[in-house]
């Protein structure tokens, strides 16, 4: 198992390096320049280019970039927050995005599991039909529609929650209230996905022979479901729950705009539109890192949960 993990870690580092190289080339070759919105004479542009090595060939710029990364220097922003190290810039935004996303994930999983189990146990009843109907709605309607509707009805019309996120509020009820709607808007899709997946898995498990055997052993219906049915149905759930985190991060870009959350979403778009290349590359690397780590966790957890698919195990 250790060898397998080491192999996967090496693969992760190589993949990250490749992504970094491609990101650097794509971003630098994109049309547009930091100077486009500035009324700067050509002589000044040349001087600034020389300062940031933009006057050098792309390959030389790439080596400067790699050399800096090896010293954990991600460069400085030139437009979003001029002169601020990119890493410091991310440090202020990442916790806000993570906070919203993690809370929504932790809320959606238990609700999804409960709804999925209930739908499977009450299969083909009114409860199952209602849950399945809600699942279709939650999956097919994009999160920003829910966000807009929640904001309009619960915040603006109902006055139950603040209309926008309160960035200045200290930790407490005020902060929690302002986070409620964005978190809620982000939970609908994961809830639906977990519910749908678990319903299908559990319904299939409930018809399996080993569950029949469990019942014939003398277990009650409830005991058979809880001890054997649930456990077996949970295994494939790992396949969707962990990568779901990456999906939620993507969905939060729009939600952050709607609720004025100063997270990563807005900064990613802004950095591209003002050609702040260092910031764009750093954000791309952040998302890539999160995706690769979640994939690694899925792979490792598979190995732990199901020894049959453990790579590099005993033959």
């Amino acid at each position: 198992m250790t060898k397998y993990i080491i192999q996967r870690l090496i693969a992760l580092i190589i993949t990250l390096f490749l992504i970094m190289t491609i990101a650097f080339l794509v971003v630098r070759l994109m049309p547009g320049s930091f100077y486009d919105n500035q009324d700067l004479p050509e002589t000044v542009i040349q001087a600034i280019n020389a300062k940031y090595h933009f006057d050098k060939p792309l390959i030389v710029q790439y080596f400067y970039f790699i050399g800096n990364i090896l010293h954990w220097d991600w460069g400085t922003s030139i437009a979003i927050q001029p002169n601020v190290p990119v890493f410091d810039l991310l440090k202020t935004r990442v916790p806000i995005s993570l906070q919203i996303n993690l809370i929504s994930l932790f809320i959606s999983i238990p609700i999804g599991i409960a709804a999925g189990s209930l739908a499977a146990i009450k299969k083909n009843t009114l409860v199952d039909h209602f849950i399945s109907f809600m699942v279709v709605i939650f999956i097919s309607v994009p999160s920003f529609i829910f966000a807009t509707a929640l904001q309009y009805f619960l915040a603006y019309k109902g006055g139950l929650f603040p209309i926008i996120y309160d960035a200045a509020a200290a930790m407490g009820t005020q902060k929690a209230m302002s986070m409620f709607l964005p978190v809620m808007a982000l939970t609908f899709s994961p809830i639906a996905r977990v519910t749908r997946y678990l319903r299908a898995e559990l319904a299939e498990t409930m018809n399996s022979e080993f569950l029949l055997l469990a019942r014939t052993k003398g277990l009650t219906y409830r005991q058979a479901i809880m001890r054997h049915g649930m456990r077996n149905s949970f295994l494939p759930l790992a396949n969707i729950i962990i990568p779901m985190f990456t999906n939620i991060l993507g969905g939060s870009l729009v939600i952050e705009r709607i609720f004025s959350i100063p997270g990563m979403g807005g900064m990613m778009i802004d950095s591209i539109s003002v050609s702040d290349h260092s910031v764009t590359i750093a954000i791309l690397m952040f998302y890539s890192f999160i995706s690769l780590v979640t994939m690694l966790i899925v792979d490792i957890s598979y190995g732990i949960i199901d020894p049959r698919i453990r790579v590099g195990g005993r033959k």
Binding site: Y35, Q46, F106, P262, S273
Partner: protein
């Protein structure tokens, strides 16, 4: 799973949630400036202004502030923020009866004093007793330090070029600033035309003869606001090439009308009245709170809930509120026009003046602006541009400017067709297909689609086709500027131009031959000569000459048709009744004067 295990699980989940919601770096307890209660506060109607002020003006903006370092600022919104919290030598401030602006000293005590007959050496006396927000004295040393850093050859600050040469050219400043670049000449700071004579006096030496108004205007620029030397130095990197000054609320020192109380980038700016400001009685507010809200719908909800005091209206929202007495109208500064790539080798007809004339007469400006709620414009200098900053006289109100405008906003389909047929004959074409690029905003989409329908009707549907293509505005802007390297970059597209509203003659530099970053090819020798004369020639000091030169420059553009002016943008705002503006209407350089407003509960 037994009940005990389940309970433990819930407990762990709750702890995790609490931990997560506490991991935000910004979640510090901030002392917000509290709105004074009506009982404690003096009545706004009594006109008693206290050092603390009364009421918080609540704003929302789509723009964000990346830095509060005046020397690196880039957006007009950053300029608005900095003009509230940073002091400059001169500024456009309200006149005594709040009917117009005045160009006066902010840190400077009065107008600059001419020290010799040549008009090249100027002495600027500073106010005594001006203080930073921390109580330190702000004097000529700070001013000198600011300008030295602005021109620092190692830092190469983007705003250094404008400081060395704009309204005035400071002697040896550009040479000092660009000395490390290719072909740079080694220059000592002592050679630059800025000196400190005593702790309250600086001396500025210029290359050309200047007027006092020109010297004052030069130092009104936001980038020339004074920085706090101690903090600036503390925030400097080891190589002396970059500073973190102004990148955090603790790395900025206020000195303007307001003091920066809190700043969370991309989220919030909170200001508190500065009781040490030299004209503190002109500020009635206790503070201003600005939230960053990008979604227009969210902004409207905040306004209707009373959480913000005013908001800018989109065309759609304006149509819903056009009869509302709370609507404020701001004249536009930008002229929207059709850029024509006259050097495109694939479409030589674009270089044909008859074709460009045909386009000019074919554009139904009134029809377009009736939809977009802008003002039709067949001119290049907008209505808010002032020709005489001393009197506030607007350029468009003068007879010379009026003479440049043709009837019916230049719309004449019959004449358009005549010019079109002539151009097609000259180019030997039977049919013509052009592509128009537009940025993906609703306004440009509407205007482009209008032309797509209208132009073939005028030129003949069997002869002319207009293809349209949308693209992100930043990409379009870059593409337009590549016409020198790639002449096929575009055929037709939209651009907008806004010059300095108090110096339209200076803003015309965009169309001079030497200006390298314009969107479309245009060069005219007479135009270049006039621009040089109106900005640097001796005759500019003669009465009426600036107007005459400016009108002629506009006339040349309208005759040569390197592009086609279409509309003048207009902005609309919706204001809450609790805000009373000090000015009766929009004023140049002051706008609606939100900073001078008062709150009436």
């Amino acid at each position: 799973m037994n009940k005990k295990t389940m309970f433990r699980g819930i407990l762990v989940l709750m702890l995790l949630l609490m931990l997560l919601s506490g991991c935000n770096n910004n979640a510090k307890v901030e002392q917000q400036p509290e709105e004074t209660t009506p009982e404690e506060a003096p009545s706004a109607a009594s006109n008693v202004v206290t050092d603390e002020g009364y009421g918080i003006l609540k704003e929302a903006t789509t723009a964000t502030v990346g830095s509060l370092n005046p020397q690196t600022y880039s957006s007009s919104y950053q300029s608005t923020v900095l003009n509230r919290i940073a002091i400059r030598l001169y500024a456009y401030l309200p006149n005594s009866d709040y009917t117009s602006y005045e160009l006066r000293g902010e840190l400077a005590e009065g107008a600059p004093e001419m020290m010799d007959e040549s008009g090249k050496v100027w002495k600027i006396k500073l106010r005594e007793g001006v203080k930073w927000a921390n109580g330190d004295v702000l004097d000529a040393e700070d001013v000198l330090y600011t300008f030295k850093r602005l021109l620092d050859p190692k830092m190469v600050q983007p705003r250094g070029g404008g400081f060395s040469k704009d309204y005035i050219e400071i002697s040896n400043a550009e040479q000092y600033y660009l000395q490390n670049g290719e072909g740079g000449i080694q220059t000592d700071w002592e050679e630059v035309g800025i000196k400190m004579l005593d702790p309250l006096t600086i001396e500025v030496t210029t290359v050309d003869k200047q007027s006092a108004t020109e010297v004052m205007s030069h130092f009104t620029h936001t980038a020339h606001a004074i920085v706090y030397d101690k903090l600036y130095e503390e925030c400097m990197n080891a190589e002396g090439t970059e500073t973190l000054y102004g990148t955090d609320k603790d790395k900025f020192m206020s000195s303007g009308k307001f003091v920066l109380e809190n700043w969370i980038p991309d989220a919030l700016v909170v200001y508190k009245k500065n009781p040490n400001y030299f004209e503190k009685d002109s500020i009635k507010l206790a503070g201003i709170e600005t939230k960053v809200v990008e979604n227009a719908g969210t902004k409207m909800q905040l306004f209707e809930n009373g959480e913000i005091d005013y908001l800018g209206l989109s065309t759609e929202d304006y149509l819903k509120h056009d009869q509302d007495p709370r609507v404020l109208s701001e004249p536009g500064n930008a002229i929207t026009y059709i850029s024509i790539n006259t050097v495109n080798p694939d479409k030589p007809i674009l270089a044909n003046k008859n074709f460009r004339m045909a386009m000019t007469y074919a554009v139904d400006r009134k029809g377009i602006t009736d939809i977009t709620k802008d003002v039709p414009a067949n001119y290049m200098i907008s209505t808010r541009q002032v020709i005489d900053p001393a009197t506030g006289a607007r350029y468009r109100d003068t007879d010379l400017a009026k003479a440049n405008i043709s009837e019916n906003y230049g719309y004449d389909p019959k004449l358009a067709k005549e010019y079109f047929d002539k151009a097609m004959q000259e180019e030997g074409l039977k049919t013509l297909e052009l592509t128009m690029l537009y940025s993906d905003s609703e306004r440009y989409k509407t205007m482009t689609e209008y032309l797509q329908k209208q132009l073939p009707v005028i030129f003949g549907e069997d002869q002319f086709t207009l293809k349209v293509q949308a693209m992100p505005s930043s990409q379009l802007l870059s593409l337009k500027k590549t016409w020198k390297k790639d002449p096929t970059a575009y055929e037709l597209t939209w651009s907008a131009w806004s010059g300095n509203e108090l110096a339209p003659w200076n803003a015309m530099k965009y169309w001079t031959g030497s200006y390298s970053r314009k969107n479309e090819p245009f060069s005219n020798e007479e135009f270049n000569n006039i621009w040089d004369e109106v900005n640097f020639g001796e005759s500019r000091f003669e009465a009426g000459k600036k107007l005459e030169y400016t009108a002629r420059m506009e006339q040349i553009i309208l005759e040569e048709v390197p592009f086609i002016p279409v509309a003048e943008g207009r902005s609309y705002y919706l204001k809450s009744d609790r805000v009373h503006l000090a000015f009766p209407h929009w004023i140049n350089k002051i706008d609606f004067g939100w900073a001078y407003a008062s709150i009436v509960e």
